[in-house]
Amino acid sequence: MNFTNFQIQSENLPKVENVELKLISKSYFKIIAFNKLIFYAALIGFVVLAKYSLDIIKEIEINLWYILPFIIGFCILNFIIALLAFKKRKYAIREHDVLYAKGLLIHSMITVPMSRIQHVEESRSWLARHFGLAALKIFTAGEAGSDLIINGLPHLEAKQIKELISAKVNGNN
């Protein structure tokens, strides 16, 4: 069969673009926001600290206050993008594969067939436990690029998916 043949046939193939992707739990954004807040707070704190310690030395004449608006501006931009990108984090479980899409500036959609999954893991950080969330980690035999991590699933759902995949993976072998 050659390429043109495949195009005719491709009309009848199950289409990934028709799959209804599900959004991840909204409270995961709180975790993203929290992590970012800590990062920027640390950054601003560092700048302020540097300013004061440099004032004492008085050798390098850089006005660090000019840097602060940049950081804050960047922080706000980062938050807006994170909020918009959050809506792109979607997943779906099909009969034979797992789909996960993410990214605003660089959007990517990865599909891992069930038959290629080596093992599944469900992990919960301290914050995730607090919000009743869990992360689902799906490992294949491929390079790091083909592993799949779905963050911010409701705990119960993550558990169900994990069991479903485990059953499928073990059933195949």
Binding site: F3, S10, H96, I106, I110
Partner: protein, 497 residues
């Protein structure tokens, strides 16, 4: 008479002490290389660090060597291995005793290698690769060759006996043996840009490292004096420059040829019933076997000059082989027919039929952006290092960039057939990447926010060895490829390994 049935715990050949000793000494010196250089320099200057005299240094060096020797002997004594019904047992460690048991069925590959020292004392080392992570490789560093071959055979036959893979080990068919002439051609026709850059970087690094020392030798002043004498005529300066350039180019040619020669010396491909065996190397002899079921990608490389001489190189990417060994699965200087034969042998019924499709012209835009970035960076570097006079080098950079954009677009294509994906790429080299659809691990569709508006996307195909990318194609086509590949993987239910 020694037992060679491996059922009793045995040590390696007693020459192993030498191998371990030399290896550890080498490692030690490599670790403290900078320190030794510093010490050596200060001695040469006639200074001494505090109260350290040359004699004291010699004495401490001797002590260190003796300590390493004792460790090597202890290591040798404590290194024992044996085979039983289905497992390979290994006991190591001087203070911390390690006992390693590897089930024979989990052994992925057995390599026999022989470095220069081992060639001198006539032993080989056996490396056992398991399916675990990168560090799980086991090495027995000194065995007699006959013993090593026997061990390899035992490890493999027990492993594969139910698959009937290595049944007909007896017949040994040397399928391909490279001639020195072809190796020289292979070395000459390599992409010299890379080795040139390597040499420049190396010289620069050396210069940086020994700047202070060179200053003391007043080399710079001498060179300047030398140049000043000739500076009367511009012609002379030009000639000097030309001589330097020709020398560097000749050097990089020589470098490539020698490197190719050392790595691929006596390269031969031996055909067994189902597997292939590769033997090669001058100082570091390696012997590897290839199992078709574990192959993930085949990468074929050639370039315009090589094509003229009929030289093709084939590198085989396998699953669960560590990066260091991966480099060795490379067969160079193959004729076109030999190459085709090997591909059929490894992949079954591969044919390069099917319609060649090409990326969108957006590909050129990205290539142009890349080149713009490259030119800006390199101009910055040039101005920073040599000053504004060197900006004439853009005469070389800009044609390079234009050629890059043109050729890399011209050479990019992809073919999707029933069982295989073929992706072509390259600028100076022509690279063809072939992978089997049923060995795909995951498929990814990627588009940036700018590509989304133009309906352009890339498809990234991950296998157990390396990802391959079909770049910048129409989004509808990308989606149909995506769907087709998934359908193929999921409907066939074929094992990927």
């Amino acid at each position: 008479m020694e037992t060679t049935d491996f059922s009793q715990p045995i040590r390696q050949s007693s020459k192993g002490i030498i191998v371990i000793f030399v290896f550890n000494v080498f490692k030690f010196f490599k670790k403290f290389f900078v320190l030794f250089i510093a010490l050596g320099l200060s001695i040469m200057r006639g200074k001494s660090f505090g109260k350290i005299t040359p004699n004291l240094i010699l004495l401490s060096l001797l002590t260190i060597l003796i300590i390493i020797l004792v460790i090597a002997i202890l290591k040798y004594i404590n290194f024992k291995f044996h085979l039983n019904q289905d497992d390979f047992h290994l006991a190591t460690g001087i203070i911390n005793k390690d006992k390693i048991i590897i089930p024979m069925s989990k052994i992925q590959n057995v390599y026999i290698t022989q470095n220069f020292l081992q060639q001198l004392i006539n032993v080989v080392s056996v490396k056992i690769d398991t399916a675990g992570d990168k560090k799980s490789e086991i090495e027995i560093s000194a065995l007699d060759k006959s013993k090593a071959l026997l061990l390899k055979k035992k490890l493999f036959t027990k492993n594969k006996s139910e698959n009937n893979v290595e049944e007909a080990e007896g017949q040994r068919d040397v399928f391909f043996k490279v001639s020195p002439k072809r190796l020289v051609l292979e070395g000459l026709s390599q992409n010299h840009l890379k080795s040139l850059l390597g040499i420049v970087a190396f010289v620069f690094g050396l210069y940086h490292e020994f700047k202070d020392y060179l200053k003391q030798l007043r080399l710079q002043e001498r060179i300047e004096d030398f140049i000043k004498q000739d500076e009367d005529t511009v012609l002379n300066l030009l000639i000097t420059n030309a001589v330097i350039i020709v020398a560097v180019i000749l050097f990089s040619f020589l470098f490539s040829v020698i490197k190719t020669f050392i790595i691929n010396f006596n390269l031969e491909v031996v055909e067994h019933q189902k597997t292939l065996e590769i033997n090669k190397g001058l100082f570091n002899k390696v012997s590897l076997s290839l199992t078709p079921s574990r192959i993930q990608n085949l990468v074929i490389k050639t370039n315009r000059v090589k094509k003229y001489f009929g030289l093709h190189s084939l590198s085989v990417r396998q699953a669960m082989v560590n990066a260091k060994q991966q480099k060795n699965f490379n067969i160079v200087a193959l004729e076109k027919e030999q190459l085709n034969y090997l591909i059929t042998k490894l992949l079954g019924d591969y044919t390069e039929t099917g319609e060649k499709s090409r990326p969108q012209s957006y590909f050129m835009r990205i290539a142009a952006l890349k080149m713009l970035f490259f030119i800006i960076i390199s101009n910055g570097l040039v101005v920073f290092l040599f000053g504004k006079e060197m900006l004439w080098i853009n005469v070389l950079f800009i044609p390079y960039a234009i050629l890059y954009i043109y050729f890399s677009y011209k050479k990019a294509y992809y073919i999707i057939s029933n069982d295989f994906v073929t992706i072509g790429s390259g600028f100076i080299d022509t690279t063809t990447n072939i992978l089997e659809i049923h060995k795909i691990q995951a498929v990814r569709l990627k588009e940036t926010i700018f590509q989304e508006r133009r309906d352009i996307a890339s498809v990234i195909i991950s296998t157990a060895s390396k990802a391959a990318t079909i770049p910048y194609i129409n989004k509808l086509e990308a989606l149909s490829i995506y769907n087709f590949l998934l359908y193929k993987i999921e409907s066939q239910d074929r094992d990927w390994m």
